[in-house]
Assembly symmetry: C2
Homo-oligomer: 213 residues x 2
């Protein structure tokens, strides 16, 4: 996910991550994601196919680079959460904080092109990986705040999908889109409200839900 640390010893990097990334995005625009092979990308940079995989674990990782940079800040945003607000409010605030990294001047490729995810297998798989990864981070946060497992898992999922729905609408809105934040607020509010209204321990009305993992 993160760029390999520049080594002071050994053979220096001949091709940079950015070169591959730039070539890939050019080609994605020229021939579409599906019409671009890893060979195309490396040929444009003038490097062997295998070198691509030194920098990116998969072709699909290029698609997500911009988004991934932001997703990585979620953990930190959660750690800054105040203990005064409800768990789901804290999560929502963290997601909003991440969302503020986007705006009319910064729209990740993955958002403008999210329709691609519907048709390319690799993107579907890589999208789900990111989904579950972020959900696990939020779920664990909620578990630490004593939310029972089922609600922690479902709540984590729900917050993420609210973010996805917001990002999709925003990304699809074209040049008129403005800031992402109001979209996020609108999508998140019913979720947060629903969980905040939940009486403590209401989750097991007669049924015992075992924790998983």
């Amino acid at each position: 996910m993160s760029p390999p640390p520049p080594a002071s010893r050994g053979r220096p990097l001949a091709s940079s991550r950015e070169m591959l990334q730039d070539a890939a995005f050019e080609l994605f625009l020229e021939r579409g994601y599906a019409g671009t092979t890893v060979d195309h990308i490396t040929q444009r940079v003038g490097v062997s196919r295998n070198t691509f995989f030194n920098y990116f674990p998969a072709k699909s990782d290029v698609f997500w680079v911009e988004l991934d940079e932001t997703l990585e800040t979620l953990t930190a945003a959660l750690h800054e959460a105040s203990a005064d607000v409800s768990p789901m409010t804290a999560v929502s605030d963290a997601v909003l904080a991440c969302g503020r990294q986007f705006g009319p001047t910064r729209v990740p490729f993955a958002l403008t092109q999210h329709a691609l995810i519907g048709s390319v297998h690799e993107l579907q798989a890589s999208a789900l990986i990111r989904f579950t990864r972020q959900a696990a981070i939020i779920r664990d946060f909620l578990l630490r705040r004593d939310i029972p497992y089922l609600h922690a898992q479902a709540g984590a999922y729900a917050v993420i999908v609210a973010g996805i729905a917001a990002a999709q609408s925003w990304g699809a809105a074209g040049t008129s889109r403005g800031e992402l934040t109001p979209y996020l607020r609108a999508a998140l509010s019913p979720i947060v409200a629903g969980y905040d209204a939940l009486p403590k321990r209401s989750f097991d009305d007669g049924v015992h839900f075992a924790a998983v993992h």
Copy 2:
């Protein structure tokens, strides 16, 4: 998705869908999903590799067969929804109706083995396909009930992920799992409550969200 209609004309089917399916599940248990190739499956049935793809569009479709049968009933369940209850309650009821098709005596392979989804690319992709397909059905239902686009999309997503969280906990609970319904109820309730509490048209407090598609 659905089995090819038995043709009255032309060469009759030599291998049945069930034979391939049974062989596949046997092999999934014997060697794991990833360790089973399409070749293995067709060799066990005594048929050529290409024949597999006459019956299933992809290897991953076998993984989901049992679940798919139930997912296909969602549209019908939504059509039976009463106009008296709130849109999200109607959706929740439909999901609960689908969920009642499972129980201790019927646990789909995809649920007991859901951990596989975390490690197999094809399963990730095929899981997301099913997720978006069901979400679109629910979203369109909510749109017909005059829910604005962003909330319809986010709400549809949220209901599905609540179902997923419930199904995961239930599937992971082992032989002590009992009925799926209480898990579903618990996971769905805060979502439904959150959306039901939403004042009409509160969604665009000053911002216009364009409909997409």
